[in-house]
Amino acid sequence: MSFDVVITTDRSMMTNHHGKEFIGFFTTAPPVGLPESIWMWLSAPKPKVDRLGRPVQAPYGLRKIEAKLLEAGVSAAIVDPDHLGSHLKRAKVLMVGHHDYFAMNSPSVVWWAVTGKEPVNRRSFLRLMRRPEIREAKRRGLKIIAGGPAAWQWLWNLDYWREFGVDTVVDGEAERVIADLVSRALSGEELPAYVYVGYEDAPSIDEIPVIRGASVNGFVEVMRGCPRRCRFCPVTLRPVRYYPLEKIEQEMRVNAAAGLRHGVLHAEDILLYGARGIEPNPDALLKLHSLAKKYYRTVAWSHVTLAGVKYAQEKHKLITRITEILYDDHQDWLGVQVGLETGSVRLARLIMPGKVAPYPIERWHEVVEDALSIMHEHRIVPALTLILGSPDEREEDLQQTLELLDRIRSYRSLVVPMFFVPLGSMKDRRAFLMDRLTPLHAEIMRRCMWHTLNWGKEIASKMYLRGLGRLPMKLVMQAFFAYVERKAREVEEWLKSCALAELQQAAEERKAALAAAIYRG
């Protein structure tokens, strides 16, 4: 059986990360203290595939594209990167997607800058595109279309665009444009170089198809867009749309039929599902979680906001009511990624005034602490992300971030510093590549590291990797934490002994190497 259109991505994406999506973060780092092959096995094991090399679980974004093409009557399938050979002999179009093709997003770029080593996601993607079967098919006239949330990175990697012979890059929600583009490719017409899908071409809910095959770790989107309008985020530039429960259930059913018993509910702020503006809709949220529990034994959230947690709990006791639905013999905790972004009230006002709503921005520290306290009490574990190097950042902003980090020390959480990447309404601003690194940035990174190591050990052993079946992974993680702790102490000693000039010189050297590698085009 052959397909006209083959959809794929590299191993760092085509995996279920051992059923633990958080382990996927390790694909954004270089192999630390381990050979790359072992690092890849630990973070991105090969998935189960059928006899045609189609993965049982595939990245959700690729599933949407596959479903849209099937709906349009195109012969298309997602194929595991290790099984491309036979399919590419006949395929006319190869589509690739990624959330970080060239490791230019955070946290990849942070690990790269700090360690000076290329993250494995980038290395894995470059290996994929250099495979002989792709080169051979390209010589025969294969059209290559690249898309996904990291499509913008191709603009800064023009040498790779040229080397791999990419025909078209599609940036944005592709449902309205992709079938037409692919049909032009299949009929041999000339393709555009680049398509950016503007917000007025964002698909309606009816135009977004239901996935046809299972998604990685039961990932299901429940809404698109976000009303909070943070200036650094491109998602907020799109209209807010909610999936009806019937449509969500259809996707959960697809995942359950493939044997998945764990699911991730995806939204930029899950507590805004069905909301009117930022006013939560308790009925919709309770029904959504009851529905999820009907199909999945365990459920995770993709993202939530701290103001959302505090408000939903204080006004409707929603955190208590939702965890009462979720927690049972199979589940007694919940993981989620949360944007902490900054400890500075001044900066918060500039870059994310809506993130604190309905509370006044001046109460940001209180909102953070109250929300983390609620989450701690309800065994919700946030992976907090912090932006370093925002364009308008000042020393006093970093001081406030340090103060906030002190205040949240006792709350079970991970804190991951991220370098500013120009996206959304801030796309015309400069990326942070350690060129403006100051001792305060270094101190913030140091405190985040210890916070994460201290809590990470407990979370990994008591929550994330419980049970005998997880013992090998648990032992590896313990060894990894011990190694990172040792390295961290070495780095601390170096930071103590070196003068600011030396630190900046080291950053400057890293910056030059990194800028040359990242902005290769």
């Binding site: 025909d167 680049y194 398509v195 950016y196 309404s425």
Partner: protein, 63 residues
């Protein structure tokens, strides 16, 4: 909403073209650029691209 087609000759201010396109209320803007290949065309454009366009932007290479 209609479609707007612009041929970008050498020396044309790309940023200005895109700013004016935003005011045009066009639903689709097609930029045709004379270039050796797609990456060369995008090298000319990339500094000017934003995430906030209401329209769908299509870039075509004219050889």
């Amino acid at each position: 909403m209609g479609s707007l087609e612009v041929i970008l000759e050498d020396g044309v201010d790309v940023g200005r073209v895109l700013r004016e396109a935003m005011l045009s209320r066009a639903g689709r803007v097609v930029l045709k650029i004379r270039a050796h290949d797609a990456p060369s065309a995008m090298e000319r454009l990339r500094e000017h691209l934003l995430d906030s366009y209401p329209f769908t932007l299509v870039v075509e290479v004219v050889k």
